[in-house]
Amino acid sequence: MKTSIYKIQSNRALRSDIYEMKLKGDTSSIKAPGQFVNIKIEGLYLRRPISICDWDQNQLTIIYKVVGEGTERMARMAPGQELDILGPLGNGYDLDKIEAGAKEKRPLLIGGGVGIPPMYGLAKALLDRKVPPEVILGFNKSEEIFYEKEFKDLGVDVKVTTANGSYGIEGFVTDATKNPGYVCACGPEPMLKAVWDKAENGQFSFEARMACGFGGCMGCSCQTKYGAKRICKEGPVLEKEEILW
């Protein structure tokens, strides 16, 4: 965990308000998919926490949705620009547990909206371990869909759901699976809860408003079966059995 300077390689709109940014920099400390980075944006006080989508030796990919001042500024950034990034932060997904938990059925990765990006890195990591996952990507409508092709290009089974039925399976991500076994999910909290209710076991990634991102302020704490945990430090990924709703 440290701050370092990354250089923007590309910053392209995947959809009207969804952007993919590729950054060149030191990725050597990233230890698991599901970790995130905290990005300093010139002129704004707090850093912006964004999940890591993918990485290799010297490139980091993030996908973000324009939801406010910080991400609006990010969307206007051009290749060549440098960013002060703190990370990697958080625990990320525990691959050993996924492998152990998905002995009988393949692991199921479920992403909703901007909860999808970390599932991409996770799918790649599981493929590296020869544990091919199944993937469900949930959106509200067809105009919001991104990364379907990228997931398919990995060679994994991908189902897409849209709440309004304009593409793929009509309904929510839970409508695309009957008896989910070991699930890894990231997305809005109502989606996580619905998946949590159905899944036998799994790991769930949560969002929270944060200040520091590294455990200094307790701003993002949540209650778990094992006491208070900081989403930024002991999270953002929590085990199914410890989550309290």
Partner: protein, 303 residues
């Protein structure tokens, strides 16, 4: 070589830079960024008698040049702090620390202070009578001279360690409260705590923070902090630890010229985990540039 040492009630700090309570936990998280033994001292996370989860989410809101928090004194409680957190802190930080204590009653303040009095590593007890994030307590004691004095007396009665009262800026006349604490026996004062603030999400049409209001901190409040430190330091004869938006070595010098003997750094740690380290490294260079040989010489120098 410039002399950056400062003295706080018999304690000599190598430099005046202290991370502020609530922004530094018990130091552990920051050891991943630098050796925290360079710090003048550490004011660790506020302790209450019982464990507290704090306020509901969300607890953080961004502001121009600052932030609002409504963490609400989340801490594992006195017993766990003494038996677990402080021994761990002693392993990573070798100098005396500042024990920040809070309470919802005079008795709770005294109970926490009494327990901290027995901890060898505690050099100063900092009494938080000014947290804006807890109902029916916390700040209520700090907004009136009488109740602030009452807490001061109760804490002084149970400890021989220096007692610093951490004051709220959310008052009509901070000087009268400072004087009341001094008369009640306080060995020093810490100021300012956060300013009560609020943000509203204009899309949701609702407050950003679940608790509606919270404590505003960051560079935006620095001029208010300098003004209050200046007013209080001129009015009392006990040391003042100045804080509120301090983010650079220049801010440290300015705060000390206003009357602070030492300085706490809060929100800056959260946006730049290296903030204290950078300030400590920058300070001697800045002092040299300003022609200051001994940092203590500038305390309260501004007329």
């Amino acid at each position: 070589m410039v002399d950056t040492r400062v003295r706080l009630s018999g304690l000599t700090l190598e430099n005046p830079v202290i991370p502020a309570s609530g922004t530094f936990g018990y130091g552990k998280e920051y050891t991943e960024f630098y050796d925290i033994n360079i710090l003048g001292s550490i004011s660790f996370k506020g302790t209450t008698a019982d464990p507290r989860f704090g306020n509901p989410q969300p607890r953080i809101a961004e502001c121009s040049q600052g932030m609002i928090n409504s963490v609400g004194l989340q801490n594992p409680g006195l017993e766990a702090v003494i038996n677990k957190e402080l021994p761990e802190l002693a392993k990573i930080y070798k100098k005396p620390v500042i024990a920040n204590v809070s309470g919802f009653s005079i008795e709770e303040y005294a109970k926490c202070a009494e327990a901290m009095d027995r901890q060898q590593q505690v050099g100063i007890i900092e009494v938080n009578v000014s947290c804006p994030n807890v109902h029916d307590g916390g700040m209520a004691f700090g907004v009136l001279p009488e109740s602030a004095a009452e807490v001061t007396k109760a804490v002084k009665a149970v400890t021989k360690k220096p007692v610093y009262i951490k004051l709220s800026p959310n008052v009509t006349d901070i000087v009268s409260i400072a004087r009341a604490c001094e008369e009640a026996g306080a060995d020093g004062l810490s100021l300012i705590n956060t300013l009560l603030g609020m943000r509203i999400d204009i899309k949701r049409r609702q407050p950003v923070i679940a608790n509606k209001m919270g404590g505003f901190s960051g560079p935006a409040i620095f001029p208010i902090a300098v003004r209050m430190v200046y007013q209080v330091a001129k009015a009392v004869n006990i040391p003042v630890i100045g804080m509120g938006g301090v983010s650079s070595a220049r801010d440290v010098v300015e705060m000390m010229m206003a009357g602070a003997t030492a300085v706490q750094v809060g929100a800056a740690n959260l946006v730049n985990p290296y903030a204290c380290k950078e300030i400590i490294e920058e300070l001697p260079l800045l002092l040299e540039e300003l022609g200051i040989d001994r940092l203590e010489d500038i305390i309260g120098i501004a007329e």
